[in-house]
């Protein structure tokens, strides 16, 4: 069976650091809000996908069900690095496309608090050196044999692009963060809503050149949820439900194919290009037709390389694209009008659902002060290192 899938309901909590709500509170809040937004209940759901990283082995979907309704439907608990939320969406999407379900719920949730530099916890080195693991290492190699921490990994991804293309340097990367912080001032759901000048971005504490602190996403808490529906089922729903539904014109996932450098430095480009090409082919949408894009700006250097990977600019011209304000909300193709991960926040498991919420909200014309007027087609992109990439194309359509 091959049939279209639509977004019927969508929601996200504000991203922030919650003291009074636990992880399940956040997931339940997002799920209940998405169900209400779609005009349906948990009783209508045939399948559920749940995405979370920190407590991935704890039956997270079932724990949320205990707060929103246990109906006996299949639950798929998934963890796929920063693409976890999108993977949960794919679980519901695939079940509907396969004809096993008519409606599905996807929820992504994460509670990170103020986690600091991820992966940088001190590893106690052995008192007597003894080789172990696949590299036969005798101690932590982090910082001794290069860096694999996120700010450095994505800095190196950006610098590789900088070395291969003219007009890309520290200033261009900083402009990305300047833009996303500015965009976030219009988004009440963003973790931070504060604008910074280009000079403030460039003069902030250097984390891993060229990424300063203001060019790195924060850790935080939050959840987002979607209700998906088959086109056949959607046709039976009310006029209001049909009018607000958003079509998923493409849903694509890729992993990283072999490249020589990917063995030591994650290649965030190849799998993104492959996912985008397939999504454009399936949807018939040209990148220049996009009214807005929410892409994975975990670091400013990452966003810039994805302008090129997603075909938003001419090959090699990502520097020119940001210099000409192409990705600003009043530019050629607005990118991360939510504030992006850099300022909206990046609760890992929620991110790949929240970007779909954002684009769907614009296509419905319900984005308030940050609305991109007349938006009818948008794209979302996430990458989880390791690596997994998801690209979705959404369209305003009638059914």
């Amino acid at each position: 069976m091959d049939r279209d899938v639509w977004i019927l309901g969508a929601s996200m909590t504000k991203f922030m650091r919650y003291k009074d709500k636990d992880l399940i509170d956040l997931g339940a809040e997002a799920a209940l809000a998405a169900l209400a937004d779609g005009g349906v209940t948990i009783q209508d759901m045939d399948v559920m996908g749940a995405g979370n990283l920190a407590e991935a082995a704890s039956g997270i979907g079932q724990r949320v069900q205990k707060q929103i309704g246990q109906t006996g439907i299949p639950v798929y608990n998934v963890a796929n690095a920063c693409a976890t939320g999108a993977t949960a969406v794919r679980c519901a999407y695939l079940a509907i496309r396969a004809g096993e379900a008519e409606m599905g719920l996807a929820v992504g949730l994460e509670k990170m608090g103020k986690a600091g530099l991820l992966g940088a916890s001190a590893r106690s080195d052995r008192n007597v050196f003894e080789p172990s693991g696949r590299y036969g290492s005798v101690m932590s190699v982090e910082g001794r044999v290069g860096t694999t921490l996120m700010p450095g990994v994505f800095a190196q991804a950006g610098m590789e692009y900088s070395g291969a293309n003219e007009g890309v340097g520290f200033e261009q990367f900083a402009k990305v963060a300047e833009k996303n912080h500015a965009h976030s001032t219009l988004n009440p759901l963003a973790q931070y809503q504060k604008a910074f000048s280009l000079e403030e971005v460039m003069n902030a504490e250097m984390m891993a050149y060229p990424n300063t602190l203001l060019m790195c996403c924060p850790t935080g808490d939050g959840a987002a949820a979607l209700v998906l529906v088959s086109e056949e089922k959607l046709r039976t729903l009310s006029d209001e439900q049909r009018a607000r539904a958003v079509k998923i014109s493409a849903s694509v996932m890729t992993s990283d194919p072999w490249t020589d450098s990917d063995q030591v430095q994650p290649d965030v480009n190849t799998l993104t290009r492959a996912a985008a090409a397939k999504a454009y082919e399936i949807s018939g949408v040209d990148p220049q037709d996009l009214d807005l894009v929410e892409l994975h700006d975990c670091f400013a250097t990452a966003e810039l390389v994805h302008y090129d990977n997603l075909g938003l600019c001419a090959p090699g011209e990502a520097g020119k694209f940001i210099d000409e304000r192409g990705p600003w909300r009043d530019g050629k193709i607005p990118v991360n009008v939510s504030g992006g991960l850099i300022s909206k926040g990046h609760p890992l498991g929620a991110t790949g659902v929240a970007n779909l919420y954002e684009v769907a909200t614009h296509l419905r014309g319900e984005a308030g002060d940050r609305q991109i007027e007349g938006a009818s087609v948008g794209l979302t992109h996430v990458i989880g290192l390791g690596s997994a990439c998801a690209v979705h194309v959404l369209e305003k359509a009638t059914v």
Partner: protein, 136 residues
């Protein structure tokens, strides 16, 4: 002179100059510095050991200012395209850790440095790279 041990097993410290050794897929020629069950490029099994060059060029870099606990900063992390094949990540030593002094495409050569001593007096040796432009 006390005992030494390489920080990773693909760094070979014998009587000659230190060098890196990779697992090379017999089928595809792909190079890996870790233990592999099969070749990620071709899916085939079968590897041979191959000594790789100790020179190469910087493919990309970053200058790390906030690091894991106990790691001195700032330091330079580089990805190096080795002459004759192979891509490796390491620190870049003997250079000012500023963007003015580290360049993509700069020639580098391998070096080694001590990174710690255990309770039995064995010193761990890491490999790194240093600029090679000054010399012919």
């Amino acid at each position: 002179m006390g005992k030494t041990i390489p920080i990773v097993d693909y760094l070979v410290l014998d009587d000659g100059a230190p060098y890196l050794v990779a697992n090379e897929s017999i089928e595809s020629g792909a190079l890996y510095f870790d233990r592999r069950n099969a070749d990620a490029r071709s899916g085939t099994q079968g590897f041979r050991r191959r000594r790789v060059a100790d020179t190469g060029v910087v493919r990309t870099f970053t200058i790390v200012h906030r690091a894991a606990p106990g790691v001195p900063t700032p330091y330079v992390s580089v990805v190096v395209d080795l002459d004759g094949g192979g891509v490796v990540k390491a620190n870049l030593l003997n250079v000012e850790p500023t963007p003015e002094h580290v360049k993509i495409g700069m020639k580098v050569r391998m070096t080694t440095y001590g990174v710690g001593v255990d309770d039995e007096g064995t010193e761990a040796i890491a490999f790194a790279y240093e600029p090679a432009d000054e010399e012919s």
